[in-house]
Symmetry: none
Amino acid sequence: MKILIVEDEKALCDSIASYLRQEDFICDSAGNYQQAMEKIESYDYDCILLDITLQDGNGLDILKELKRNNKSDGVLIISARNSLSDKISGLTLGADDYLPKPFHLSELAARVFAIIRRKHFDGNNLLSFQDLIIDTQAKAVRTSNREIDLTKKEYQLLLYFVYNKGRVLSKNAIAEHLWGDDIGGGVNYDFIYTHIKNLRRKLIDAGTGDCIQSIYGMGYKFAIT
Amino acid sequence: MKILIVEDEKALCDSIASYLRQEDFICDSAGNYQQAMEKIESYDYDCILLDITLQDGNGLDILKELKRNNKSDGVLIISARNSLSDKISGLTLGADDYLPKPFHLSELAARVFAIIRRKHFDGNNLLSFQDLIIDTQAKAVRTSNREIDLTKKEYQLLLYFVYNKGRVLSKNAIAEHLWGDDIGGGVNYDFIYTHIKNLRRKLIDAGTGDCIQSIYGMGYKFAIT
DNA sequence: CTGATACTGAAGACATTCTGAAGATTATAG
DNA sequence: CTATAATCTTCAGAATGTCTTCAGTATCAG
């Protein structure tokens, strides 16, 4: 799950990112209006944390823009302004939730979870695909018979596949999604081969078929075989 | 402790959830009969708040279903219908308590606490998990045989684990829960390692297995081995 | 056939977790 | 108030687990 943090107070931004990363989210951050708009255009985030009191332009403008592009789903507003009018204008503009500063990071994380649950899980904590059951709270994966022990990257990869089942995912997209924006240009993605290999092996060993189809020159697709 | 809120009035549902989260509960919500049944099947909640005036099916049907599956323990009915007959049919169907709308959130929370105490705490203030017995009044922990002498931090840590059994807790979450203030970026969590180590040793010495699973890169999970 | 793309196992690089011991800090007893 | 004990935190090294790199091999499309 990939999250964009729009917050100009760098220390806060960093500690939010650090916390959410531990909770297994992949975080990008933007410190001003322009950066935020660039990132939002280039990627479809699962959740956007939006500080509406930016210096170079009101964060509410970002929200309006998102609304116009039908991307306002999954926006959590954070703000020092605790006035009711702000809250109302935020929520009427389509934000999902509103969290006044100061807040506990665990509270923030809980709301992010809630938003993502609403968006992806149809309100459920269990994700299933064929014989596969993913308990996103226990971070455990199993088939009807067996437990599957996955590493962190494998788990994230599987989750990404399941969220995008049936869709072809390029190596670039996978890399961006699993490693965030700290991957430079001229990198080779050999490690993705390895992670795919390992995940495949574990899934097959557990009795699911090979759900990960390779599509030559394009990428991978998670689907029924 | 995990709570399911079954309530179709979204604003009310959200404010209940928000309040209870502040009290450290974990909340799921369901807006209609079907959602509620799905959730109930997929998770064993510690308490269920049930609005019996749902639009797509009477909430009492949910209660009957719970009763049939022996899960009616821990149900708190909330309802605008204040008639005695409703109250009676609710309670005879096995609900634990009945709260008429409108109510104060603090009143609701108090009753939730009471229900959970009754359900988990053995009527006294005892909380048990496997062979482990935690007396939350005396703040003492023991197995069926032995006393376990824990320090304050170890006790808090254990309690946090037991309340969130089966869930993966990141080091960040643990740190925030046990030390309050949020901790920024470049902090080391060495003291958590130490406390986990000490708690583990005491539990193992007392004869419980190692209930604290380490999950590399993600955190810890308290579970049956 | 050929060049590009994908797969594999092994190994080194890297990161996380565990541990005991020692230094702070706090609580307790006298 | 001081001495003592208990607890909490820090630290460095060891043990462990995971990620990435790499070189060789297999597969694919044209």
